[in-house]
């Protein structure tokens, strides 16, 4: 199945694209949040501003009103540590008790980096000392030991890129592994569905991710096979039934024909009686033909007639049929003309000899049956470009345009599935059409140039 790799390619592409998109989205969201944080104002900046806002006056050190309200709003406190004495020389209101009032160099380094008694602290440089701003507990988290290997930071873009690629690769591998498992379970199912459509029996191993699907495909196949064999059985039964009936009627009909034949030529009988016997004989022969036709037609219809094609000379086959008719036509009411002018001597085709003979016999017999008062039958074999055309025509009563149109287009009642009230005709032409169909040939029914009925059989020539 060609569409499967295409499907996989599309899905892998989609996955990679969506991963990239996700990454980008994350970066954007992070950037937005971070920028918001920045606009919020860094506590370091506040500390620096507060330090500047401290002024030494005669009453001592005073913080501007603006900064005081700012501190109050943030629930923060502030102290000023003197540069020389390391003592707190100024403090804001609400200073928690636990904040020490004298410092050492080492404690100042701690204050700068981290917390005083859990309060995150930020420092700003003032004229007289170090301003320490304290925020409420758990309002900020401070990164207390920020030191990195220099090369790591220098190579950061490269490392980040490598990490991204490694992640993508990893994702791809995970995807392919996961999918290949899915694919291995999908493949037999695709094959199964494909062979379902060719109505071949299917059995898929009911294992793996899609075992349920496999089970239902197997069930579908079973149902299809069952239906197929039922249909075949029904067709076989129908053909067998027809074969059985035609077999059982043969022996009684032999008796009728045998005795009627004897009576017909019995010189002890009157001419009238002989004529009656002849009618019985003729009608029995019609029944005989009907039985043979019915059996063959049903077998051809249900594909139960074994076809044994071989390379043969169509001219020889037709010639033999014509001669057989001439040898048995005793009263010469239906003379056959073999049109030699257009007939080649050889015309090689691939055909089942018995069936081809049967088709031509049916056509000649048709002309005889439909023209009881006699007619001339014209038979030709022509070699066309890549086909062989056998024509059987007569100068008899013929048929109307409408009848010919019907014969050419409407299916025979025996192979027609709707109930038809139209006049039923014999099986002779149906069999001819069926025989030509199994030989990939064509049957054309028309008016004959001699004024009667004409049937053309077109068969493909053997390739040289």
């Amino acid at each position: 199945m060609k569409s499967v790799p295409k499907l996989i390619r599309r899905y892998v592409g989609l996955l990679l694209l969506s991963s990239l998109m996700l990454l980008l989205l994350n970066a954007v969201v992070f950037a937005i949040i971070a920028s918001k944080q920045l606009s919020n104002g860094s506590p370091w900046v506040t500390a620096a501003e507060t330090a500047k806002a401290l002024q030494s006056t005669e009453q001592g050190i005073v913080l501007s009103k603006e900064s005081t309200t700012q501190l109050q709003e943030a629930h923060a406190w502030a102290i000023l540590i003197d540069n020389t004495t390391l003592q707190v020389v100024w403090k804001s209101d609400h200073l928690p008790n636990c904040v020490p009032l004298s410092y050492t160099a080492s404690s100042i380094s701690n204050v700068t980096r981290g917390y005083i008694a859990g309060y995150p602290t930020f420092t700003g440089e003032s004229e007289n000392g170090l301003l320490v701003l304290g925020y409420p507990k758990e309002s900020y988290w401070k990164h207390m030991w920020p030191s990195w290997d220099y090369h790591l930071i220098a190579n950061l873009p490269k490392i980040l890129l490598a990490i991204v690629f490694a992640n993508i690769l990893l994702l791809l591998i995970i995807y392919v592994l996961a999918n290949s498992k899915l694919l291995t379970s999908i493949k037999p199912i695709i094959n199964g569905i494909q062979s379902l459509s060719t109505s071949n029996p299917v059995h898929i191993l009911e294992k793996g991710l899609l075992s349920e699907l496999a089970v239902s495909i197997n069930q579908t196949s079973e149902i299809l096979q069952k239906q197929k064999s039922q249909l075949r059985r029904k067709e076989t039964a129908r053909a067998n039934w027809i074969a059985g009936v035609s077999h059982d009627i043969r022996t009684p009909l032999s008796m009728v024909m045998g005795y009627a034949g004897q009576l017909e030529s019995d010189t002890h009988l009157t001419e009238e009686q002989q004529k009656k016997a002849m009618v019985i004989l003729r009608q029995s022969q019609k029944m005989q033909n009907l039985i043979n036709d019915l059996n063959l037609a049903s077998k051809l219809e249900y594909n139960m007639q074994p076809i044994q094609p071989s390379k043969m000379n169509a001219v020889a086959v037709v010639r033999q049929v014509v001669v057989d008719f001439m040898n048995t036509d005793i009263d010469h009411t239906h003379p056959i003309e073999w049109e030699t002018d257009t007939s080649p001597n050889t015309c090689l085709i691939q055909a089942d000899q018995d069936l081809l003979r049967r088709a031509i016999m049916n056509l000649i017999q048709n002309s005889i049956n439909h023209n009881e008062n006699g007619c001339t039958i014209y038979v030709t074999v022509q070699s066309l470009d890549d086909s062989c055309m056998i024509t059987v025509a007569d100068n008899g009563v013929g048929a109307t345009d409408e009848q010919i149109h019907q014969l050419n287009t409407t299916p025979h009642y025996m192979v027609c599935d709707d109930t038809t009230t139209e006049q039923r005709h014999g099986l002779g032409l149906l069999i001819v059409k069926q025989i030509l169909a199994v030989h990939n040939g064509q049957t054309i029914i028309s008016h004959s140039q001699y004024g009667g009925f004409c049937v053309k059989l077109i068969l493909p020539l053997c390739k040289r």
Partner: protein
Amino acid sequence: MELSYLKSKRILLVDDEQELLDMVVSILTEDGFTNIHTASNVKEAMSQIKEYSPEMVILDVMLPDGSGFSLMEQVRKEQDYPVLFLTARGEEEDKWKGFSLGADDYMVKPFLPKELLFRVMAILRRSYKRENPLVKLHSSTIDFSRAEVIKADEHIPLTAKEHELLSALYRNAGRIVTIDTLCEAAWGDNPYGYENSLMAHIRRIREKIEENPSKPVSLVTIKGLGYKLIVEREW
């Protein structure tokens, strides 16, 4: 044609239907056959064969105690009787089976009395040919055993091909034989493209058998189809 000697041949008819047996017997006797025996099953057939040793067997395929095919094989073990199958089984497979087992002919019921008589005679004629048939034509006589034609007390020899062609025509005397059948008889299985040679041979045969070869009366042409040999008498 004087073939009455064939009508005294011993013929065994085997069929399980008594009425059919009666009918076939009546058809054959009315035509002049004088030596007909019947059996309605395999057992009877075997004992009849032992008793009368028939010269031809007409067999049904389906018998109450076995198949006609196996009966034929059994019968043929002892002697090569000509066998004609006369059966209601019209399937092509059955026909081929019959022929492939070596049946001389296969007829499907129902049948015309004339057809049965024709086929029985054809089988008998093929199987019990006279040693030296002399065939009398309108203006000459063919002696097949010596491969020569006797015309006006003159003995004219026939070539091998001419002999083959005349034999094929004689076997179907009075009936049209197609060009293709004649070519096959003379040139074998792949008889394409011999039509002109055939015409040349026919012309030479006519020169030997006809009084006036350009107005043939014994070997007539059926235009485009074939030829017919008209025999006056045979002895």
